[in-house]
């Protein structure tokens, strides 16, 4: 399967190459890429990209090094400071901040301004810090509620659009002896997803971003309202028990066995559900329902490519960024047999997949509030870590709320100076 995919990427690359060959054939030297796409499917995609780009430019040698995705989160610092490569992988939004501030990412605003990156206008915002753009996205995916369609049918439930309907549904699910949501909060970030959605729905996207940037207070009435809504779900027994001992993967069996009927997750959960034996007739997706009358904000984490400011071959690096974001390459690498996610270029086509088309439709037409990255990418790293710990504690001991919020407020006044 991977072979056929590589081949398809290659054919696309040739056509893309023809289109851009006029400006690109004078590239020479070596292009060094360090990628964190270490899982099997992404790795094949990245290797295909490197090989195609190498083949397109006879005078250029592409050197690709793939490092473990988790390890890269701390290795990137060393990689960028000592002998920096030309192109690297990272994440959008606030996660770029430490490297932008330290001057380790190359400012590529001129590429956006000069029309070198057509079709990326809608994602430009996620790449902008201090009014400049620091990289290009290559894939993103929606978050939302994945649910057991068969159990919903059995209980006569329909996809809710308001929080009242959500709670009414959940009550019926709980009455049938099941839990409404599975979650594994051992590694904390899953609780961040719940907070993102509850806060964006209760107070709106703009308030959520104010909280992320430290302008809003954790002890404000708005935040308390968010937690009050969350508490409604906790008190009715909506979440599985003992979730603090499970990773997100360990929480999957509850969904697969039908002990819990829904999972607030990113689209990367779908292959796991299919592998576990659920058919597409048993699973479906809906947007997190409306709570207050505010425009809907959505989480759609974006993965990115950047040029190191200390890169040796910036010309080739820029050409590579153009290549990766071109409509054809975007369609190919986000296809169902490749990354299986959403393409970032507006001229690309979305794979014919029930979940991707729903997600794409949701993000294009019903995310009028704005698109957030994710709790641990929008909030500064230290605030995210302390915050997610508090969120997990709240889910287990909701009575500790005051204590938790005071702690987070203390952290806020210290972290955002």
């Amino acid at each position: 399967m991977l072979k056929s995919m590589k081949a398809s990427v290659a054919t696309v690359a040739v056509t893309a190459g023809l289109a851009t060959s006029a400006m690109a054939d004078d590239l020479s030297g070596t292009l060094r890429i360090i990628s964190d796409m270490s899982n099997p499917a992404p790795r094949a995609v990245m290797e295909g990209l490197a090989a195609d780009f190498d083949a397109m430019h006879p005078g250029l040698t592409v050197e690709l090094e793939v490092v473990d995705r988790e390890a890269w989160k701390s290795q990137i610092r060393n990689a960028l400071t000592a002998n920096p490569p030309d192109v690297i992988n990272w994440y959008a939004a606030n996660r770029m901040a430490p490297y932008v501030k330290a001057g380790l990412f190359e400012d590529i605003s001129d590429m956006y301004a000069g029309g070198d990156l057509p079709g990326l206008d809608s994602v430009k915002g996620a790449m902008t810090l201090d009014g400049k753009q620091w990289g290009v996205p290559y894939t993103y995916y929606q978050w939302g509620i994945y649910y057991r369609e068969d159990i919903f049918n059995e209980l006569g439930l329909t996809e809710p659009t308001t929080f009242e309907e959500e709670i009414a549904n959940c009550q019926k699910i709980v009455d049938s002896g099941r839990k409404c949501y599975t979650i594994g909060s051992k590694f904390l970030w899953t609780a961040g997803g719940w907070f993102d959605y509850l806060n964006m729905r209760t107070n709106g996207f703009d308030f959520h971003m104010k909280l992320a940037t430290g302008e809003a207070s954790w002890t404000s009435d708005e935040v308390r309202a968010t937690f009050a809504n969350w508490r409604k779900l906790i008190d009715m027994g909506a979440f599985i028990d003992d979730h603090q001992t499970y990773s997100w993967q360990e929480a999957l069996p509850f969904f697969v066995n039908g002990e819990a009927t829904a999972y607030l997750m990113g689209n990367f959960v779908v292959p796991h559900l299919r592998e576990a034996g659920l058919t597409d007739a048993q699973i479906d997706f809906y947007q997190f329902p409306k709570i207050a009358d505010v425009p809907m904000g959505e989480d759609a984490p974006t993965d990115t490519f950047h040029i190191a400011s200390g890169a040796q071959n910036k010309e080739a690096a820029r050409a590579f960024l153009q290549f990766v974001t071109s409509p054809e390459v975007q369609t190919a690498i986000n296809g169902p047999d490749a990354l299986g996610q959403l393409p970032v270029n507006a001229s690309s086509s979305v794979a014919d997949d029930e979940f991707l088309t729903q997600g794409f439709d949701m993000l294009s037409n019903n995310a009028t509030g704005g698109i957030a990255q994710f709790f641990d990418r929008d909030f500064p790293a230290e605030m995210a870590s302390i915050g997610m710990e508090g969120l997990q504690e709240f889910m287990v001991f909701p009575d500790n709320l005051d204590d938790i919020l005071n702690r987070l407020e203390d952290a806020r006044t210290r972290i955002y100076k």
């Binding site: 430490p98 051992k186 590694f187 028990d241 003992d242 603090q244 001992t245 790293a381 504690e393």
Partner: protein
């Protein structure tokens, strides 16, 4: 006399001093580069606010002042104390098993190796096995406590009141085996004549153990104490595997907290991490000081 000496070169005259110094040099050099100098650097970095990338700004003792009001630090410190105190249980437990296994019956080697087995396992494996053992609802531990009507909310590792004890128990399993081996070798060296003499004087049971055997096991006890203290202070891997510091930070120890603050995905506060490292170092220094003093006393006694 003086003329005879002046014939010899300076090197030859001083070789009794020079030779040991030369032999010491490589060791001292590496010890400086990898131990002493980094300790000094930690002290130095702890006075700065630094993210590891940009400029470091001097903040004096600000990091330490922040530590005093940091609840996560306080919890970590207390957990370190719990680890140090409870981990020492490995010593009497190891002694007990060693005494039990110190007999000659057929197949005793097999039993000995079975008891020694957990020490051979990697800490990661021990952590994984125990986290499965502790799983709520399906774990063996939960099933057994269920028979007695005890239900730990969230499972052992999911409950902030029990999680640290659960991890310490997992750590005691291999540590007891380690102490057992130390005592088994120690028991081999026990002088049979002294036992014989004790027996003639009517010593049995507890009195024999306390007054005749244990004094002879003193070197083994000392080593067991040293390795157990060291083991308790480097409990990092078990915590990382079993709870990752959670639930909500209740199982962190200082070394884990330092890692989180300085080197993990959400960390990179090098100054603050170093301040934690310095506190951990000062705690270790108490034990290191005691070990060195005690070894020095032994050497002095041996030289006499």
């Amino acid at each position: 006399m003086t003329t005879a000496h002046s014939d010899l070169s300076w090197v030859r005259r001083n070789r009794m001093t020079l030779t040991p110094l030369l032999f010491l040099l490589p060791g001292v050099l590496f010890f400086m580069v990898y131990v002493i100098i980094p300790i000094g650097q930690s002290f130095n970095i702890s006075l700065y606010e630094w993210d590891g990338l940009g400029e470091a700004t001097y903040v004096g003792l600000e990091n330490y002042r922040e530590l005093t009001g940091d609840r996560a630090f306080e919890i970590s410190l207390w957990n370190n104390v719990k680890w140090l105190a409870l981990y020492l249980l490995a010593i009497p437990a190891g002694l007990l098993i060693a005494l039990f296994l110190n007999q000659t019956i057929t197949g005793i080697r097999l039993y000995k190796s079975l008891f020694f087995f957990p020490f051979v396992l990697s800490q990661v494996v021990v952590g994984l096995v125990f986290s499965w053992f502790y799983l709520p609802n399906v774990g063996l531990f939960d099933i057994i406590t269920g028979w007695f009507g005890i239900d730990v909310r969230g499972g052992i590792l999911g409950n902030p009141n029990t999680a640290t004890y659960g991890i310490i128990a997992a750590g005691l399993w291999p540590q007891t085996a380690y102490c057992m081996i130390l005592y088994l070798t120690g028991l081999n060296a026990v002088d049979p004549e002294q036992i014989e003499a004790g027996r003639l004087d009517g010593a049995k049971g507890w009195r024999m153990l306390w007054h005749v055997i244990l004094p002879q096991l003193k070197p083994a006890t000392f080593i067991a104490f040293v390795v157990t203290i060291i083991g308790a202070l480097r409990s990092f891997d078990l915590i990382s595997i079993m709870t990752n510091g959670g639930p909500f930070g209740s199982t962190r120890v200082l070394s884990f907290y330092m890692f989180e603050k300085a080197l993990s995905e959400y960390g990179f506060r090098m100054g603050y991490g170093s301040a934690i490292a310095v506190v951990l170092f000062l705690i270790m220094l108490v034990f290191i000081g005691y070990f060195l003093w005690s070894m020095y006393q032994d050497e002095k006694a041996a030289r006499r």
